[in-house]
């Protein structure tokens, strides 16, 4: 219907109109520029945060899971006393032996003990009781000496693992493997130095000195009803959902819970946390989208206003174009294209500012946003929304132009 020459000249004309009225066009498009710039930079920050958090999750292990006691919601305290719902060593063993999808698992119990080494004495250090699989579950292996073995646990050996920070805090020699420590008055031999975790998961593990002893030994040093949690890993992140179900099934059976009864424990896979975090990030992104919606609405009204001015200024031109054969559709398209071009230029400048802001975010020290970046979909969406704004708000002025009577238009002063 409209020939290629029409489109060529309409696009050229749209740009030359913007160029001829540079400052006016800039002020008009400011709403869109600010809207797109703010949204893209928020999305950039979110993307950076997400990348950071997910990489932390990754470092913990996406296929990891936790089991801990949990009182059912709205259940009376006396019906589920704490000692009744605490995890038992037998339960950890059952899960290890019966759950086929569980690759590795360790119960962890923490006991506060006074530590002595040579002349130095520190009170109330947290000592963790673990199984040998802990190395696998936490992805932490020994730098020096040897890891824990089944024999350490089975024969309740008085051995311990420490980390590098514990060496300095306890004034131990550089290579303390073979040295002895007094933990709660009992003598333990240091058999290995474990790696210090690189990723401190959301500020957990704040105490830097760590001491580990076999779980069977820690059990004996605890009070009668002691708290333990289970950490484990599934064969792969893909089987996390099935694995959870399996663990839940075994534990329910161990606890003799009938199908209708509420669960007295929680099984939570990291996978689940990742999902939750992604949902949260998506929610914030949607809010950012809402902000761009509002600012594009404001920007769009500016566009409509300036297009109405443009139509009025160029009434004679419209009359002439109609006289030489422009159909109403051709006039409509020309003005619509001009509005869309204006919006797209605004969107482009907005994205440029957004990129600049994203770059700035990566340079904020300690903000953990070094991976902030505008993803491609956000760029595409910004352009799409800008174009849509141009179409929606350019439509009324364009229709007005297309309906001008050529005779009246040519007579217009």
């Amino acid at each position: 219907m409209l020939n290629p020459l029409f489109w060529l000249q309409a696009i050229t004309l749209a740009f030359s109109q913007i160029w001829a009225n540079k400052s006016r066009a800039f002020l008009t498009a400011l709403g869109i520029i600010v809207g797109v710039a703010s949204t893209t930079s928020v999305i950039a920050a979110l993307t950076g945060l997400k990348a950071k958090v997910l990489s932390e999750f990754e470092s913990v292990g996406a296929s990891k899971f936790f089991v801990f006691p949990d009182r059912p919601d709205n259940a009376p305290r006396n019906m589920y006393p704490w000692e009744k719902i605490l995890l038992k060593t037998a339960e950890a063993k059952a899960i290890r032996d019966e759950c086929t999808l569980v690759k590795a698992l360790t119960p962890i119990t923490e006991v506060g003990l006074d530590v002595e080494s040579g002349g130095k004495r520190i009170e109330g250090i947290t000592v963790s009781g673990i199984w040998p699989d802990w190395h696998l579950v936490q992805n932490r292996f020994v730098q020096e000496g040897r890891p824990f073995t089944e024999i350490d646990v089975d024969s309740e050996r008085q051995v311990c693992l420490i980390n590098a920070d514990a060496i300095t805090e306890l004034d131990l020699p550089a290579n303390p493997v073979g040295e002895a420590l007094l933990l709660g008055g009992r003598r333990f031999m240091i058999v290995g130095i474990v790696e210090t975790t690189q990723a401190r998961f959301f500020g957990m593990n704040t105490s830097s000195a760590e001491i580990f002893i076999p779980f069977s030994v820690a059990e004996k040093m605890q009070e009668r009803n002691f708290f333990m949690r289970i950490e484990g890993m599934f064969a792969s992140p893909e089987t996390a959902q099935e694995g959870e179900d399996e663990v839940r099934f075994v534990l329910r059976r161990m606890r003799g819970l009938t199908p209708g009864e509420p669960q007295t424990f929680q099984v939570a896979a990291i996978d689940r946390f990742i999902e939750q975090f992604k949902a949260l990030a998506a929610g914030i992104t949607a809010i950012a989208g809402g902000i761009v919606g509002i600012s594009l609405l404001v920007g769009g009204i500016g566009i409509m206003n300036i297009m109405l001015v443009s139509v009025s200024e160029r009434t004679r031109e419209i009359g002439l174009r109609k006289a030489v054969g422009a159909t109403p559709m051709a006039i409509l398209m020309q003005f619509l294209l001009e509005a869309v071009t204006l919006c797209l230029v605004g969107g482009f400048i907005g994205i440029a500012f957004g990129r600049l802001a994203a770059f700035g975010l990566t340079r904020i020290p300690g903000a953990q946003l070094d991976q902030a970046d505008i993803p491609f979909w956000a760029v595409a969406l910004s352009f799409a929304f800008s174009a849509l704004t141009g179409i929606v708000f350019g439509m009324f002025p364009a229709i007005k132009a297309s309906r001008l009577d050529p005779i009246e238009a040519l007579r217009h002063e």
């Binding site: 020939n3 029409f6 030359s16 001829a20 174009r321 006289a323 030489v324 054969g325 159909t327």
Partner: protein, 260 residues
């Protein structure tokens, strides 16, 4: 003239029958045209004259397919254009009508060449070879050395030449000029009018709407309107004789008739 009509069948180029146009301005009703009849043949050069309020502007808008009559018929090239919609009329204007306006109506930011090309933007498929066609049109009006000039770099006469080149680009059925010399001095007026006559001599039908007898004197035929009707429709010689115009125009008109 008669021979030319015969050559393209018996139908005249323009046949207007019982044309009326009624405007409503507020509570007032204005009868701009009251049953006007007019026939114009191919390759005629006609002046349409009349005082303001005579309906000559309205008639020009009708002939130029810019407006539709309230009643009556307008056959252009055998097609009834009086009942066409806005889109069809736009196409007819693009293909059949070349407009020349008093104030030139050139696009200020575009070169002479781009201005001349304008109708091709809206042409159906006729955009191929546009540059050559626009250059040829500029050559016909004697502006082949000014193709890259913008309107503000051209004199009034040159601007009107660009406008004429734009009008004849599509080789329209009618070259329709509305007071084409109204903004020009007398020397330039003469140049432009002789350009119209040259284009007419090349086979173009020309209709000039004017209120100046000097302009009308360059045409073959003068249609005078009053109160929305044709007052007189005479060959230029008889028209001037009836109005006792100065002899210089008679001589001019005589030469024109001799030439035709």
């Amino acid at each position: 003239m008669a021979e030319q009509n015969a050559g393209t069948g018996d139908r005249p180029l323009i046949q207007v029958v019982g044309l009326t146009k009624v405007y409503r301005v507020g509570v007032e009703t204005i009868h701009a045209l009251r049953g006007l009849d007019l026939t114009i043949g191919r390759n005629e050069m006609v002046a349409i004259m009349g005082s303001s309020g005579s309906g000559k502007s309205t008639l020009m808008n009708m002939l130029g397919c810019l407006d539709r009559p309230t009643s009556g018929a307008y056959m252009l090239n055998g097609r009834d254009v009086s009942r066409m919609g806005a889109k069809e009329l736009a196409q007819v204007r693009n293909e059949e009508i070349g407009f020349v306006f008093q104030s030139f109506e050139l696009l200020p930011r575009q070169t002479a060449l781009e201005n001349v090309e304008l109708p091709l933007i809206y042409a159906k498929g006729g955009w191929r070879g546009r540059r050559q066609r626009a250059l040829a049109a500029l050559d016909r009006v004697g502006l082949s050395k000014r193709v890259d000039h913008r309107p503000n770099q051209l004199s009034g006469g040159q601007r009107q030449r660009v406008a004429i080149a734009r009008a004849i680009l599509n080789t329209p059925s009618i070259l329709l000029a509305d007071e084409p010399t109204g903004n020009l001095d007398s020397a330039t007026t003469a140049e432009i009018l002789s350009l119209f006559r040259q284009i007419h001599s090349e086979g173009q039908t020309v209709i000039i709407v004017t209120h100046e007898d000097e302009v009308a004197a360059h045409c073959q035929r003068v249609v005078r309107l009053r109160d929305g009707r044709v007052l007189s429709d005479l060959p230029i010689g008889q028209d001037i004789a009836g109005r006792h115009l100065p002899s210089v125009h008679s001589a001019h008109a005589g030469a024109e008739r001799a030439g035709a």
